[in-house]
């Protein structure tokens, strides 16, 4: 814990403090089954307070004592529960209706179903996960949200390039320490050794993703970790060793939710491309998150 406190004091601006707000729900309106107008009208009628997420037209922060995942709208797939930070990678990827997209580590599927809705339920998303048990949640979300353009697969992300398939777009939301969630249990169990272990795996996944991307395709790398070894170091590896370049998506994320890009950490320099990345702060409304778009 002390190690992380020291690290995070170097990452955040002076004076930053995290305040958990248990009364906030973050939901995304599933445009396959409903619309923002319809859901806002329902919430207004019930007296919920809500606010739109600035960077995602379908995102809402909702203040209510009701359990939104037990509502009729949730059961019917009109809304889905998704942290506002995790709406960023699909927005950055901006996958289109005729594209073949790979979601390399897809479970539980909130980003998968977001991409499916953005694609108008057309095109194809291959949603992969290494663990068959985790696919149960993904299957359930796909069914509930009325998504038809997703095929789910089980396998090691590191080996997916061996299929020979090439994708227009790839989302690599990599397995990580999860320190951006600010979950006390996660913070307590995270060590330098664990961070290094994830960092090694993330490099392998990035290598596999790069080999699976079409020339001119776009890849978004993201984690819910705050640690530079899991974020900037992986993007830097993609740029320096795999010949990729960073891209800046046009996303409207207010500065109050962002922390400064990291260009150097423990003597390792990450290069100017890091100014294209998004480092989202853990606030009451958001989880700590990192996302960066790259192209071949």
């Amino acid at each position: 814990m002390k190690v992380l406190e020291d690290r995070h004091s170097r990452i955040f601006d002076e004076g930053f403090s995290y305040k958990f707000d248990p009364s906030i729900w973050t939901i995304r309106v599933n445009t396959i089954k409903s619309s923002m107008r319809e859901i806002e009208a329902i919430f207004k009628e019930r007296g919920y307070n809500f606010e739109r997420v600035p960077w995602c037209p379908e995102g809402l922060w909702v203040w209510t004592d009701h359990i939104l995942t037990k509502t009729k709208e949730y059961a019917e797939g009109m809304i889905t529960s998704q942290n506002s930070s995790s709406m960023v990678p699909p927005m950055a990827l901006a996958s289109g209706e005729d594209e073949v997209v790979l979601d390399m580590a897809a479970s539980p599927g909130s980003k998968t179903t977001q991409m499916a809705a953005m694609m108008g339920n057309e095109g194809v998303i291959i949603a992969n996960d290494v663990d068959k048990r985790r696919l149960v949640a993904l299957h359930s979300n796909v069914q509930r949200c009325g998504v038809v353009n997703v095929a789910t697969t089980v396998g090691q992300g590191e080996d997916i390039w061996r299929s020979g398939m090439k994708f227009d777009k790839i989302l690599l939301d990599a397995p990580c320490t999860g320190t951006g969630t600010m979950n006390p249990r996660v913070l307590k169990s995270t060590s330098e050794r664990l961070i290094d272990g994830f960092s090694r795996r993330q490099r392998s996944l990035m290598e596999s993703a790069q080999k699976s991307l079409k020339e001119g395709g776009v890849l978004v790398y993201s984690t819910c970790s705050l640690e530079p070894e899991e974020n900037e170091a992986i993007v830097n590896f993609a740029v320096e060793s795999l010949g990729m370049k960073t891209v800046k998506p046009d996303l409207k994320i207010p500065n109050e939710f962002l922390s400064a890009p990291i260009f150097e950490w423990d003597g390792e320099e990450y290069g100017g491309g890091m100014s294209d990345s998004f480092r989202i702060l853990p606030t009451g409304k958001t989880e700590g998150f990192f996302a960066c778009a790259l192209s071949l």
Partner: protein, 82 residues
């Protein structure tokens, strides 16, 4: 699941499926979707683009959305909300 198992039904079959679903009490309209059949004892719908993908080297667990299960008696048993 191999690509050869992807059995894309033609328009007449889609209409037949719609009729069968309606006979089972479901008011649905499947036009605009591709329908994949005879897989895992169910009826699945997917996007048109799905038929262009070669799944032969992937370990596929689902393709698209399952809309119906076919019981041993040949009757449709369950349908997802469409």
């Amino acid at each position: 699941m191999r690509s050869k198992s992807l059995n894309v039904i033609d328009k007449r079959k889609v209409e037949d499926l719609e009729r069968r679903l309606k006979n089972n009490g479901y008011d649905v309209r499947l036009s605009g979707f591709f329908v994949l059949s005879d897989w895992k004892g169910g009826i699945w719908i997917s996007s048109r683009k799905m038929a262009e993908v070669d799944f032969s080297k992937l370990n596929v667990t689902t393709i698209g959305m399952q809309v119906a299960e076919i019981g041993r008696d040949g009757k449709l048993k369950a349908v997802a909300p469409i």
